[in-house]
Amino acid sequence: MFTPRARAAGIVAALTVVTAACGAAPSTQQTTQASQGGVNAATATSAADFGGLDKLVEAAKKEGALHVIALPPDWANYGEIIEKFQTKYGIKIESETPDAASADEINAVKTRKGQDRAPDVLDLGQSFAISGAAEGLFAPYKVQTFDKIPEGQKEPTGLWVNDYGGYVSIGCDAKKIKTCPASFADLLKPEYKGQVAMNGNPTESGSAFAGVYAAAIASGGSFDDIQPGIDFFKKLKEAGNYNPVETTPATIENGETKISIDWDYNNAAYAPQLTAKGIDWKVNVPSDGKYFQMYAQAINKDAPHPAAARLWQEYLYSDEGQNLYLKGFARPVLLPAMTAAGTVDQALAANLPAVDGEPAFPTTAQVDAAKAKLAAGWDTAISG
């Protein structure tokens, strides 16, 4: 039936499959560096535990690498932040799947527990930071500037800390649109037929979800009631103004998404790129629906490079790191403190889209309820 050669080939193939299966899950937990010089980097809760920032830098340099995930180079200036960190400390950053979502980050932490290629640090949507902390996935760590971060924008033990955020804004191609919309009410005008797009689908994309929340606030809803926002988009769809295409710099350039609801730091960051291509991209924070949301930073409890992970946090919350966020048009969490202390880069702060008033934040329970409502009602409102 089978020649010996064929059988041998079969056995070789079988062995290959078996070894490949084993190789797929390397479990090289780095126990060696866990306790160098009497300091256990994996349990250190502040730079003081290392004996100061210099000692932390030393420990991180010994590890030599940092594994990050879901940090798009054109999002909140992460490209430059990564580059500056690498040159400053000589630590190589392996940036994996830049376009991953928060759910993917949490999955990576869970499924690669104990592996060398698990992510060291995470940049998460607020609700994922809270649920991840509740599941015990993060290490508590207080950066040196921890006390300056406002209450409510950090977990008390430092399991997560807000890093940067922005307002929902309306970007608009001022060369093709006569009057740029300045409020959600404006978006319903017939002159914007087929023009109003979002950065994705609100049941998936954080910025689109925020867009619906902001629309709710603009249309008589509140943090407790997102339904008016869903109804707003239903009206927008019925008026023929809703454009389902997911906004990217490419769709803006091509003129397909002339109006886009997105975080102000995304819209503002597109502007200089687009100016070079002859597009005048204007950004307005809507006057009737202001919604501000921050992302959160956390350290993987089982980080393969625990010291480098902690140094990354110290860098992000240093004046230098926070100003780099600002350079990407994101509002860093320490902006008020740095403005008071005069350490903020004034020129960069002046570039931010103007907003009056102080931001307010919904509670976790309010956000969860809004999401459940959205998941149930969005499709029926917008489909057809």
């Binding site: 609100p202 049941t203 809703y242 389902p244 149930a376 917008i382 057809g384």
Partner: protein
């Protein structure tokens, strides 16, 4: 082609060498191990997850996956895939017939090569290609005065899916059409058959297995497509793959993973049903080939 009949049933004759059956299994072991690993393990995870809610065995995910927006999305996917499969099969068959019977080999080679490329054209690039052509500010939509938003509808998506489905059908049908011998047509004509008779009683029965296979292929392709629809229509056209993506990944929903697994299981069932319809039909039509 199932080779039914008694003369060639493997393992039934006395001439088979003793023990060859068990040794045959041994040879297939690597393949089986491979399947168990890359197909079996995910399938088990899928089924186990679909029947688990809050850590306990439950039917909650499955029943939720068959209600409200999820059901709408499932029906939307089935409707879209069925329309694409039928239209694609008809158009693809006519195109394949036209090029197979044309005299120019250049044309034939060109169309087949282009089909090979286009059948694999998908994802976001495909969506952007159409947006740039027939979108609200597309190059062609301005010329033909297309009203805004007309690409971002059910029928717009059908057109986009046909763009890769028709070439796929051409690739599936061309070899079968090559198999139609001119002598059959001549024989039919000599016996007094009209063109209609020839197609109805000779050609179509011979082509039917390949056509059915093509329909199933197109259905599967449209049913599982995701990236193009996501970039082009968002949630305006409800589709099950988009619902799975929202539940499984993203920055918004937490704790919907098992509903995504239940939805995937529903998809497996639908694909299974399509195959269950296809297989008996295929067996019936392939009788003509013997």
């Amino acid at each position: 082609m199932s080779r039914s009949g008694t003369e060639a049933r493997p393992g039934s004759g006395t001439e088979a060498r003793p023990g060859s059956g068990s040794r045959g299994w041994l040879g297939a072991l690597p393949l089986l191990a491979f399947f168990a690993l890359v197909f079996g393990v995910p399938a088990i995870v899928l089924v186990a997850g679909a029947f688990t809610a809050q850590g306990r065995p439950s039917l909650a995910n499955l029943s939720q996956s068959l209600q409200g927006g999820y059901l709408t999305a499932m029906l939307g996917s089935v409707r879209l895939s069925a329309v694409v499969a039928l239209l694609g099969a008809v158009l693809g068959t006519f195109l394949a017939h036209a090029i197979v019977t044309s005299r120019g080999t250049m044309l034939r080679e060109a169309v087949l090569t282009a089909s090979g490329v286009l059948a694999n054209f998908g994802g976001v690039p495909l969506a952007f290609f159409w947006i740039a052509t027939l979108g609200n500010s597309g190059v062609v939509s301005g010329l033909i005065g297309l009203p805004s938003g007309s690409l971002y509808t059910f029928w717009g998506l059908v057109v986009v899916y046909l763009y890769f489905s028709v070439p796929l059908m051409v690739l599936a049908m061309a070899p079968a059409l090559d198999g139609l011998r001119p002598q059959w047509r001549e024989a039919a004509a000599n016996s007094g058959a009209t063109t209609w008779h020839y197609w109805r009683f000779v050609a179509l029965p011979v082509l039917a297995p390949a056509m059915l296979g093509g329909v199933v292929l197109l259905f599967g392709g449209a049913f599982s497509a995701y990236a193009t629809a996501n970039a082009m229509v968002g949630t305006v056209v409800p589709l099950v793959t988009l619902k799975i993506a929202s539940a499984l990944t993203g920055d918004v929903l937490i704790g919907y993973e098992n509903i995504a697994l239940a939805l995937s299981l529903d998809m497996v069932v639908v694909a299974g049903l399509v195959m269950a319809i296809y297989l008996p039909l295929q067996r019936r039509t392939s009788r003509w080939l013997h």
